[in-house]
């Protein structure tokens, strides 16, 4: 492929990213409803954390302000990282079930990159549309420990970008299960529930006790919320801590994307699609 071909491919995926962004930007009342719900949940969880950190100051290495900040970062990122719903995977599973995926496979684009590009566009829109308001409300109503240094915010955003890729890669693998099961909704829901727990949306992974905590901190879901939150909270200070967090995220991204590729090629070779 020549340079013009490469830039054409790049333009194609850029258009898919933009399409994903615009698709979600269309539903304004859905966005407003989601912001409202994330904010209400933020309040509920914040009060339970205050009660817990009252009893156990310094739990998980966080003081109370850091714990509260963690709550609001979680609510701000919940949608961008698809913590409550499977996002694109629902569409993909539906296309596998009704056989439309055969059309997608005939297109002169890479299936995984196509869905990744579209999901990046969605995440870009939801990061700002659904993230800014809850975090601002949280900062106004609770004493949060947000950094003033723009460099830290930049490092945080890099971690969020990596988290979006890991989140996509997990859901892509789950969605591919539908090639074998026909109705893949159960797998997606199962993945969603397990994921929400191991993401640490309800309790920081740092604060989880014993072997369960040790396990939770090395699973891919740790790359979603715990890593970006720790970077913003300054719990992983220094170039060493920062690089290790990025490496953890990038490592899982590569492993899971590769797993998705492998599954995809075996699915398209061995499985007969719906409709013949």
């Amino acid at each position: 492929m020549g340079t013009s071909g490469a830039s054409g491919t790049l333009r194609l995926y850029a258009a898919v990213v933009a399409g994903g962004f615009r698709r979600y930007a269309t539903y304004r009342s859905a966005t407003a409803a989601g912001v409202f719900t994330n904010t209400v949940f933020g309040f509920i969880v914040a009060y339970t954390y205050m009660a817990l950190w009252d009893e156990r100051p310094g739990l998980g290495g966080y003081d109370e302000a850091q714990a509260l900040t963690y709550v609001w970062i979680g609510q701000a990122l919940a949608q961008a990282l698809s913590m409550f719903n499977a996002g694109f995977a629902v569409d993909m599973v539906a296309r596998i079930r009704n056989g439309d995926i055969a059309v997608d496979l005939y297109r002169p684009v890479d299936l995984q990159l196509w869905w990744l590009a579209s999901d990046l566009g969605r995440a870009g829109f939801q990061l700002f549309s659904r993230g800014v308001v809850p975090l601002t409300v949280g900062a106004l109503c609770f004493p949060l420990a947000l950094p003033g240094d723009p460099v830290v915010w930049l490092e945080f955003l890099v971690a969020v970008a990596l988290a979006v890729v890991v989140s996509f890669a997990i859901r892509y693998v789950l969605a591919l299960a539908a090639f074998w099961l026909i109705d893949g909704t159960g797998v997606l829901q199962f993945g969603g529930v397990v994921g929400m727990f191991f993401t640490g949306l309800l309790l920081p992974l740092n604060a989880m006790p014993g072997a369960l905590g040790d396990l939770a901190r090395v699973l891919p879901w740790a790359a979603l919320l715990q890593m970006p939150a720790d970077i913003l909270l300054g719990a992983r200070s220094g170039a060493d801590g920062l690089l290790r967090a990025y490496a953890f995220q990038a490592g899982w991204a590569v492993v899971l994307l590769a797993a998705g590729r492998l599954l995809q090629s075996s699915a398209t070779r061995k499985v007969v699609l719906q409709g013949g």
Binding site: A33, F36, T37, F41, L181, V193
Partner: protein, 270 residues
Amino acid sequence: MADVSGSVRVYGLIAGMWIRSTLVYRTSFALALLVNFLVTALDFVVIWMMFSQATSLGGYSFAQTAFLYGTASVSFGITTFVLGSVDDLGMRVRDGTLDAFLVRPAPVLVQVAADRFGLRRIGRLLQGVLVLGWSLARLDVDWTPAKLLLMPVMLLSGAAIFGAVYVAGAAFQFWAQDAAEAQSAFTFGGVTLLQYPPTVFARDFVIGVTFVVPLAFVNWLPALYVLGRPYPLGLPWWLAFAPPLVAAGSCALAGLAWRAGVRSYRSTGS
């Protein structure tokens, strides 16, 4: 009464049809059932983990919190089992498929409630029953006839109050089809809130869920009476027996909202 039994029969017919279609994909159904059990079980694991780090939360022990958790989850479990599909109404309004419900000789609300009936949702109810049973075994409740009577009354009235929230939320979707997520703040947010002791939350918050959206009557007021603990707002003790009245009032209001919603329905533009 013929009206009610007719509605129940229609509900049973539609739900039965959906159950049969669900059971065609057995693996997926088994997973979905497990998910519904797990999603709430993991909620409880979080509370367990909190109590593995602290002996009390807001002055309440683990068993007392588990009692609040169990009562809220059983009520909510009954509601989602029976009415869990009504929050998909916005989708039907948006694509116009609600029209089919309007021409059938059965109440629209019954059809909407039974639409896509999810047998899997029994997982949530089961999990709530287990936690409630465990908490009752662990607690040393000073049982009186009034408290014993209050238990089923609380669980059923609580389910009716949550049901009113579901129906009111669905009615709102006649005007704002895409806003389905807003009602999660009151349904899923509500049950999460009620699983914790009221002493954990700020006073204004407790006032809001007592007098504005009366979720506190689902379990907080009656459950605290059973536990023999005072309600933070210093309300009279007999309000613990008010849930049936609050439930009736909420359901009446939700019914009015629903009628207004159905009347304003104009189908899709195209």
